[in-house]
């Protein structure tokens, strides 16, 4: 079985077009993309893990403070009068406006940067 030179010769001589010249390049491009995806997934998993552990620690702290140190986390009672409510609404309005303007600024900056990048 080790000899079988006729089979070896046939397999060697069977003419299949060779693998294309850019096969290695194309494969490595996909490998790099895959590596980047894996890296991002690992980052997100880490982030989720850290967030979960952090929340768990905060919950444990609250539990310990409440149970062992009789610490109270009850919110103070707030009585809203019509004048204080109008001030509150105004503050929310200003805050929303500020967020909107900051968002718009960031969006315009990104667009400008992209356009500049494309021109280069």
């Amino acid at each position: 079985m080790e000899k079988d030179k006729l089979i070896k010769q046939t397999l060697k001589s069977t003419q299949w077009p060779p693998v294309s010249v850019d096969f290695q390049y194309k494969t490595m491009q996909k490998v790099f993309l895959l590596a980047e995806k894996k890296r991002k997934r690992a980052y997100m998993l880490n982030l989720a893990g850290i967030s979960f552990v952090s929340l768990l620690l905060v919950a444990a702290c609250i539990y310990i403070l409440e149970v062992y140190f009789a610490f109270s986390f009850t919110l103070p009672e707030i009585h809203l009068t019509s004048s204080s409510l109008s001030i509150l609404i105004f503050s929310f309005y200003i805050a929303a406006l500020v967020f909107l303007l900051i968002g718009l600024d960031a969006f315009m900056r990104r667009r400008w940067q992209m356009r500049n990048g494309n021109l280069e």
Partner: protein, 186 residues
């Protein structure tokens, strides 16, 4: 590449040096492609499947335990990729009576395949190889062309070494029968 070097390269790739994977692509792309192209019989499909095999190998690199060589592990992935593809395409192969294969003697087959090559025989054998099933094609390609040992083939195909030996013997006999059928003898 030595097994120790391979292990070291794999460790470095897993630590983030992705570019080192190109060594494996460069070293094994031809062998992987030549096995797959024989199974699927199409250059375009074979290239795509070879690429898939390398991508699978890269994404599963952390599961490579080093109990076999990297090439054996890669061939196993490539073979499974090609087999899954072929199973989707229902190819009709000529049916051969198993009893005919059983009656062929090892001596006759051995003498036949050790004959001096001639153009007609090579052509007949090429046709016969094309009529083998995917597993048989992969088996003879890796054994005769890539010079893989029986224990390595056992790892690639998920069989015992004894099963691989039996399958190799049976494939040789099948090729012999297929050639004799072309000659009109069987």
């Amino acid at each position: 590449m030595e097994s120790k070097d391979e292990q070291l390269t794999i460790k470095r790739i897993l630590e983030g040096e992705t570019a080192l994977f190109s060594h494996f692509v460069e070293q094994y792309s031809h062998s992987v492609y030549s096995m797959i192209v024989r199974i699927v019989q199409s250059r375009e499909d074979a290239e795509e499947l070879s690429q898939d095999a390398f991508l699978k190998a890269f994404s599963k690199l952390d599961t490579f335990k080093g109990d076999c060589s990297f090439s054996t592990w890669l061939f196993r992935i490539a073979y499974n990729t090609a087999i899954s593809f072929v199973r989707k395409k229902k190819v009709i192969l000529p049916a051969i009576d198993e009893s005919i294969i059983e009656t062929v003697s090892d001596e006759a087959v051995g003498t036949f395949f050790d004959e001096d090559e001639n153009e007609r025989r090579l052509q007949q054998l090429e046709i016969a190889i094309a009529q083998l099933n995917a597993e048989e094609k992969a088996l003879i390609t890796l054994f005769y062309l890539e010079s893989k040992r029986v224990n390595e083939l056992a790892m690639v195909f998920g069989l015992t070494t004894e099963n691989v030996r039996v399958k190799l013997h049976r494939t040789r006999k099948k090729l012999f029968v297929l050639i004799k059928m072309q000659d009109g003898e069987r």
